[in-house]
């Protein structure tokens, strides 16, 4: 088939204070008409920059194409004037971005934004453009498109906004659609729907797609061909089946190995560390058996936030973030809470150490009722439960050296004498496998994975019994994610730690947990031993959630027909709303399913 885009020996340089830096190094590939090419690689590998150079949108003065050329439809883009480029952008090449929350203009209705693109490139009058805008919104499955076209972006959910972005991108039937991580910021059910949508539109319109992602599972769902990039270079190229079934390059192999595949743990009783290619054989861990002795018992936990309004700032409504949640964490075991954003899983974690004050309920840690403690005793109790947060870039204080940050809890509690502090911190650095020479560094000098190791070291400093890991690996690249997860499991074996692992990633959860709880709209809809939940999900929401997870296998693709998820209702209710208690049925040993209504 004919080449639509061909990139030849492309070099892109970045100018920084330290000098010029090669971001893309001698890159060549082609995209044929109406095929999907996935460009995959970890953050900083130059994949987004390549996409921007194809749009001739590299930020001036910072990034520059130093040599090589980009042919689009047999025209060299570098020789076109800015006016000619404007005719191509949005018309023949269009792009969708990662962040649907900020890529639409908040001041115009979505109908205006879609029809504006049509009018600019197609010379239609206002009425006709509006009509085709509504048709487009219908094609991307916005419900009631003739009415929703009058909505402003803030009135739409994240998934719907991404659909509008796709409508805008496809408005002029472009020859190629560039999608830069379009689903990374979305929940897994919405991601599945958007991916299926892009696939269907590609079939219908015959547009080529250049799909940029870091997620091998998404690649398996989308790609015809795959280009694997590793710092600025192409390391491998091939059809999706070649890449997945017979990877050649070491890096591709390690990338595939690090991706947890949903379902591969089905026959295993205990969590297992991730495989890492390239490193020496992972240390053979003892099976992470844990104990059956309860460490933390949570009964009927309820957390509601007030919504203030009016002149007097009175509480006018309440956000029901957590509704009647009960679970138990055993010593040395991991309980995972999964669910989509807004389901209350993070609030559960924060309620346990009263970073958020729960409305009612009972939290019992090793015989001590945490919710009835006074502030002084609570401070003491906190040393038993520590947290690791999601964003490694905001969870460390940028102004203090790492030594001080890891030492902070020890100094706060005064448990360690000054003379032995240095040694103790050194041990903690060893524990999380960071060189001791890092102690005097500052967070901005570390990579994401290294920062997360520091966060874990800080959590370990007080010898806690329980660590709450709130999406602790979600922001990391897969290979780094695998290393951090392995570290956590190793610590669990060595120190007998319990984890409350809060995550939206079903495949990771399957890998690390002993028990799993699924949350929806503040309720725990299903909880039980991990093998039982994954093999035999009972609640309709759990079933849908598992169906939505992309599988890193190109033969298991999903079409739009398989996916039909209900939108999330609002958790905000007026003050008189008094939800019914949760009732559960035991379907297998220790496997409970919610029988009362949860809104799904």
């Amino acid at each position: 088939m004919e080449d639509l885009v061909s990139i030849n020996n492309l070099n892109i340089e970045a100018r920084t204070r330290a000098g010029t830096l090669k971001v893309v190094n001698d890159l060549s590939f082609t995209i044929k008409k109406s095929e999907t090419l996935c460009v995959v690689g970890e953050s900083g590998c130059g994949k987004s920059v390549t996409a921007l150079s194809l749009m001739s949108l590299l930020p001036e003065g910072i990034l520059k194409v130093s040599s090589g050329d980009i042919l689009f439809d047999n025209t060299n883009l570098a020789q076109l004037s800015e006016a000619e480029l404007e005719g191509i952008r949005g018309n023949e090449i269009s792009m969708i971005f990662q962040e649907p929350m900020t890529s639409l203009n908040p001041l115009f209705t979505v109908g205006e934004q879609v029809s504006e693109v049509i009018r600019r490139h197609k010379n239609l009058n206002k009425e006709k453009a509006w009509v085709s805008a509504v048709e487009l919104l219908d094609a991307v499955k916005i419900p009631n498109p003739d009415k929703r076209a009058f909505d402003y972006p803030f009135q739409l959910s994240g998934g719907q906004r991404q659909r509008v972005m796709i409508a805008i991108a496809l408005a002029c039937q472009p020859k190629i659609l560039i999608a830069d991580e379009p689903t990374t910021a979305l929940d897994v059910t919405i991601q599945a729907e958007i991916l299926a949508l892009i696939n269907r539109l590609k079939e219908e319109t015959g547009t080529a797609v250049m799909f940029i992602t870091h997620d091998m599972a998404v690649v398996a769902q989308m790609a015809d061909r795959v280009v694997v990039m590793h710092p600025g270079k192409k390391v491998e190229e091939g059809t999706v089946h070649e890449i997945f079934n017979n990877p050649q390059h070491e890096y591709t192999k390690s990338l595939l190995a690090a991706v947890p595949k949903l379902g591969e743990m089905a026959s295993k009783k205990y969590p297992e560390p991730m495989r890492l290619v390239g490193e020496k054989k992972p240390k053979a861990l003892k099976p992470i058996i844990g104990t059956n002795e309860p460490l933390l018992k949570v009964n009927n936990l309820v957390t509601r936030y007030p919504v203030k309004g009016g002149v007097l700032r009175r509480t006018v409504a309440r956000v029901h973030a957590v509704e009647d949640v009960s679970f138990t964490i055993m010593k040395g075991k991991t309980l995972s809470l999964v669910g989509e954003s807004g389901c209350g899983k993070s609030t559960v974690g924060r309620s346990l150490i009263r970073l958020v004050e729960p409305t009612s309920g009972d939290v019992n840690l090793d015989g001590q009722n945490i919710l009835s403690l006074n502030p002084k005793d609570m401070r003491k109790a906190r040393s038993n439960i520590q947290m690791v947060f999601q964003d490694p870039f905001s969870s460390l204080n940028p102004q203090r050296p790492l030594f001080d940050q890891v030492a902070e809890p020890l100094r706060n509690y005064g448990t360690v004498k000054r003379e032995v502090l240095q040694e103790k911190i050194g041990d903690l650095f060893d524990r999380v496998k960071l060189p001791r020479s890092f102690m005097q560094r500052y967070p901005h000098q570390l990579s994401g994975g290294q920062r997360q190791r520091i966060a874990i070291a800080r959590a370990l400093a007080l010898n806690p019994k329980l660590i709450i890991a709130d999406e602790a690996v979600s922001a990391l690249d897969v290979s780094v994610q695998a290393q951090v997860l392995n570290l956590m499991m190793e610590l669990q074996v060595d120190l007998g730690l319990s984890f409350l692992f809060i995550s939206h990633d079903m495949a990771v959860v399957e890998r690390v947990s002993h028990d799993v709880g699924v949350m929806y709209l503040g309720r725990l809809v299903e909880i039980g031993p991990r093998p039982s939940i994954f093999r035999n999900p009972q609640h309709p929401y759990t079933q849908d959630l598992l169906k939505a997870v992309p599988i890193a296998d190109p033969d298991k693709r999903k079409s739009e027909r398989d996916l039909n998820f209900k939108p999330l209702p609002s958790p905000i209710h007026d003050l008189t709303h008094n939800p019914a208690p949760s009732e559960y049925k035991e379907v297998a040993k220790n496997h409970f399913v919610l029988t009362t209504d949860c809104g799904y």
């Binding site: 969870s395 706060n412 496998k433 901005h444 990579s447 800080r458 959590a459």
Partner: protein
């Protein structure tokens, strides 16, 4: 493929990096040197030019350059050069001290309002707004009139009327930073509220507060000049505003008597603005990498 080997750069302390950026900017360095020059002139200058600024040394209205007086004499025959040299001391001192006072009040009120929220914030911010809508010059005049026109009362008066902007900036930074995970992390590792406010959040909020305070120094100097122009200055010490104020009647006959102190104020405030700008660039991490 452990990611530890990636970084081999030497450890640079953030503070050092800020200094490096600051000293790379020509305008900021120029401003800093002018400011240091003026301060040196004010504090050491009288040793080399010992004429008393209050002494009537020659006949009134001697034009600049004539009779050995570089900048001429004023309506009482006092040496204007000596007045400018000695006035620098008071202007700079009042400028910095008043900015320090407003920084102190503003950071205190702003940080508590931002950190605690709720009724604490409501109360403190209403007070701040009260000071913001008050006609500042009038209010400062009332304070000086009540407590007498000494350097101390003038400094406190200026400080008391100009802290509102610092309070608002501090509060907004606190509102932003207190939501970041490292604050939660610090709280969950046992830090109490005072440690969170002063050891964790405030150092991270420092950049815009420092910039605002630097600009306040300039504002305070002009404010002092304004008060002195209206006659509300310490009669025992000379200041630039006072020189302008006392000569204002003769502005048409002897323009130079008000021009030279005016230029002195202008240059000082400009230098402070340049320094403030340089600080802004150096402290703002987004601009720093450019």
């Amino acid at each position: 493929m452990l990611e530890n080997e990636e970084i081999d750069e030497p450890t640079i302390k953030p503070v050092k990096e800020i200094f490096q950026t600051f000293f790379k900017s020509y305008s900021a360095v120029t401003g800093l040197f002018i400011l240091i020059g003026i301060a040196v002139m004010g504090f050491i200058g009288p040793l080399f030019y010992p004429t008393d600024p209050f002494d009537m040394v020659w006949m009134p209205f001697s034009p600049p350059g004539a009779d050995g007086f570089l900048l001429g004499t004023d309506y009482l025959g006092r040496d204007i050069l000596s007045q400018i040299i000695n006035g620098a001391r008071v202007s700079i001192a009042i400028g910095f001290l008043a900015a320090l006072v407003s920084c102190f009040i503003g950071v205190g009120i702003g940080s508590f309002a931002g950190f605690y929220g709720g009724w604490v914030e409501e109360t403190l911010m209403r007070i701040t707004e009260f000071f913001q809508v008050l006609p500042t010059l009038l209010f400062a005049m009332v304070i000086v009139a009540l407590f007498g026109s000494s350097v101390l009362s003038i400094t406190l008066a200026i400080g008391a009327v100009s802290w509102a902007s610092v309070a608002r900036i501090t509060r907004s930074e606190f509102l932003r930073i207190k939501e970041l995970d490292f604050v939660l992390a610090s709280r969950s590792s046992g830090s109490n509220n005072m440690a969170l406010i002063f050891r964790v959040i405030l150092p991270n909020a420092a950049a815009p507060i420092i910039v605002q305070s630097a600009l306040l120094v300039g504002a305070a100097i002009t404010f002092e000049a304004g008060l002195a122009f209206l006659g509300l200055s310490d009669p025992n010490v000379i200041s630039w505003g006072q020189v302008i104020g006392s000569n204002r009647v003769y502005i048409l006959d002897a323009t130079y008597t008000v021009t030279f102190p005016g230029i002195a104020i202008f240059i000082t405030v400009l230098a402070i603005s340049l320094v403030g700008d340089g600080l802004n660039d150096a402290l703002n991490p987004k601009l720093r990498s450019r």
